[in-house]
């Protein structure tokens, strides 16, 4: 195995009864890489992370973490990972400090040993260090859970939707912290339903319906979008989406915040072509811009092709 590779998953399948959670999933993650699984709820991200955390066995396929097999050498792996489940899993009746102490303790470490890993978050939550974890706000809880997951300086950090239910500012801080830990040499695998967080990762795997649609750097994913993308806005947004979807040359039209993202089958389609079409449909105050594709656009495109 390549010594630069931290996680190598081959052909993973997992079914719960008749429900397929993972359908022939393969990927690899390099050492000290910040790798994101991006996809909507129910795509299979949690199952995948649980398999990586040795919490579940895959039905078929293999996972190697470092030099170990995730099924047979699960004890070795549990010594080297930090795992943060999607559900808040700290002791709500213990204080911030007691939780940290406990989790450091079970890995045979102390807060002092690895304080540098968590100091930037811990500085923020230390005013509340005597508060019970159950009484923290959502963002604080997640920061504490992250601190607990890496207080023992794991080689691999597995985070299942760590930013779900966290406010925008805390999310930003959270990602900054992950980047720093990556600089320290920790390999980090994160799952998230937020497409806009893809750009924070070194590489992402777009996940949908138990399958990986594409794995690449966020830059390459957006660069390979392959169409000219327009953001369109008019005075009547309700009919706009309908009119664009039924435009004879439409390739895709999706609502993105205050705009409709539109691509045309004609490679040479221009803004004035679209404007002309919309005027014909009775729209006014038409605003059209050509924009770069975001990861979400790429995700939508890949889902369409699928």
């Amino acid at each position: 195995m390549n010594s630069e590779i931290m996680v190598e998953a081959r052909d993973l399948c997992k079914n719960y009864g008749t429900v397929t959670a993972l359908d022939h999933v393969s990927f690899s993650v390099n050492k000290a890489e910040l790798f994101g699984f991006i996809g909507p709820d129910g795509a299979g991200k949690t199952t995948l992370l649980r398999i990586l955390a040795t919490m579940l066995k895959p039905d078929t396929g293999t996972v190697r973490i470092g030099e170990y097999d995730a099924v047979n050498d699960y004890r070795k792996i549990r010594n080297m990972i930090g795992y943060m489940p999607g559900k808040f899993s700290l002791y709500q009746d213990l204080t911030v400090e007691e939780n940290l102490q406990f989790f450091a303790g079970i890995f045979g470490s102390t807060i002092k040993d690895n304080y540098y890993l968590i100091n930037d978050i811990y500085d923020q939550i230390s005013p509340f260090k005597n508060r019970q974890a159950g009484k923290l706000s959502g963002g604080m809880k997640q920061k504490l859970a992250l601190s607990c997951a890496m207080i023992h300086k794991p080689d691999l950090l597995l985070l299942d939707e760590p930013t779900t239910g966290v406010d925008a500012v805390s999310r930003k801080e959270f990602w900054e912290m992950l980047r720093k830990r990556k600089e320290d040499g920790i390999t980090i695998i994160v799952s998230t339903p937020y497409m806009d967080e893809a750009g924070k990762c070194d590489r992402v795997a777009l996940f949908q319906n138990s399958k990986i649609l594409s794995t690449d750097t966020p830059e390459n994913i957006t660069a390979n979008y392959g169409s000219v993308l327009f953001a369109v806005r008019t005075s009547n947004m309700y009919t706009l989406i309908h009119d664009l979807k039924y435009c004879p040359t439409v390739r895709s039209a999706h609502s993105f915040g205050q705009y409709i993202h539109y691509t045309d089958k004609e490679i040479n389609a221009t803004m004035s072509d679209i404007e002309y079409y919309l005027r014909g449909k009775g729209h006014s105050e038409i605003e059209i811009r050509q924009i770069d594709a975001t990861v979400e656009d790429c995700f939508m495109r890949l889902m369409l092709n699928d």
Binding site: M55, S89, F102, G108
Partner: protein
């Protein structure tokens, strides 16, 4: 190797400290741990008892001579009976029972003293309200012993050859119900609390998702379980001591045997109960179900099938067989032997061995069933 052991020790200590935090921060847990045992013990000790005091009886004395008067006085002074009324005719008997207050009617035949002196025999008829069969039985026994003791006192005067059995109630001369109940309650409380608390505290970790984090850590199942259980061993042991103290100071139940042996047996029984609790927690991941299994699956059989209230010997064979599977049965035997009879280890080693064997069996099953993954 030495550092490994040091780390393991530190892990274990951290775990125990954490568990104590859980216990002391949860008022409900504390109440279950210490409130319930004390209340139960006092309740059972004072209220639930098969001793009868001041049972209301009626006397129908057709003779009204000096002997019947004296026997009647004896009956009253025994403390078990209170003469509610005197009857004048046999037709009243039915009526007083219908009223329901009178538990027993004592009837002396006419010419009682004369017959006794002449024939050496006279009749007392005892009619009881057997709609409460236990009470009726006990009252008849009390009455028998009262008349017997009267006869004994009169033996010389009557010049009568009689064989009077001299009954000695060994180990519990005053026939106190508490003597029977305390070992039973101790067996019930310790198993209930130990099994209930451990099964709930382990399933709670599963419900809250913290078990997932513990599983993903280097902790081994044995470490997780022993870390969780250790505080409950300590607290249950304190409970056992508390129960022994209350029974000594409140109910004057002596500890005739070796106190250390008694405490050692309590500890063994606590561990048996905890291992049952662990087993329950491996069968379910819901606190509710764990609680139901502990309450219904442990408390009821302990009360019914341990010989605590109903003697095992009187049960149908199948139930008797079941009784032999109940750890409390052995514990009650051990406790009674040590506390009341002052028996040493040589008298209880068999029961001790059975309890120890059961514990190992439960632990073995738990470890077999413990899931190292989420499935």
């Amino acid at each position: 190797m030495k550092t490994d052991r040091y780390i393991n020790l530190k892990r274990f200590r951290g775990f125990v400290v954490k568990e104590f935090h859980h216990i002391f921060r949860d008022v409900r847990t504390l109440v279950i741990l210490f409130g319930i045992p004390v209340i139960q013990l006092l309740l059972f000790g004072f209220v639930v008892t098969n001793e009868i005091r001041d049972a209301k009886i009626a006397v129908f004395d057709q003779s009204k001579d000096y002997i019947t008067t004296r026997i009647t006085q004896k009956i009253v002074s025994s403390g078990y009976f209170k003469i509610d009324r005197k009857l004048e005719s046999a037709s009243q008997i039915e009526d007083v029972f219908r009223e329901g207050n009178i538990k027993m009617v004592v009837m002396f035949e006419a010419g009682f003293a004369r017959k006794l002196e002449k024939d050496g025999q006279a009749g007392i008829q005892v009619i009881t309200d057997a709609s409460e069969p236990n009470t009726a039985n006990i009252l008849v026994n009390y009455l028998n012993s009262v008349t017997l003791s009267y006869m004994a006192s009169q033996q010389k005067a009557l010049q009568q050859m009689q064989i009077i059995p001299e009954v000695r109630m060994k180990y519990n001369p005053e026939l106190k119900g508490v003597f029977l109940f305390v070992p039973g309650i101790m067996a019930m409380l310790l198993i209930l609390i130990s099994a209930l608390m451990t099964s709930i505290s382990i399933t709670r970790e599963k419900e809250l998702g913290t078990m997932e984090v513990l599983l993903a850590s280097p902790l081994r199942p044995f470490q997780i379980i022993s870390g969780k259980v250790m505080p409950y061993i300590l607290l249950s042991f304190m409970n056992a001591v508390l129960i022994i103290l209350i029974s000594f100071f409140v109910f004057q139940i002596p500890v005739h045997g070796n106190l250390l042996l008694l405490l050692g047996e309590c500890l063994l029984y606590i561990i048996t109960a905890l291992s049952l609790g662990i087993l329950i927690s491996t069968l379910t991941s819901s606190q509710q179900i764990a609680m139901m299994i502990s309450l219904v699956g442990l408390m009821l059989p302990t009360i019914l099938l341990s010989g605590f209230i109903f003697p095992v010997e009187n049960m149908p064979l199948i139930l008797q067989g079941l009784c032999y599977l109940m750890p409390p049965k052995y514990f009650i035997t051990i406790i009674k032997s040590i506390m009341l009879k002052g028996a040493g280890f040589s008298y209880v080693w068999k029961e001790t061995l059975i309890l120890a064997g059961m514990t190992l069996f439960f632990l073995f099953l738990s470890i077999k069933k413990f899931k190292t993954r989420l499935e």
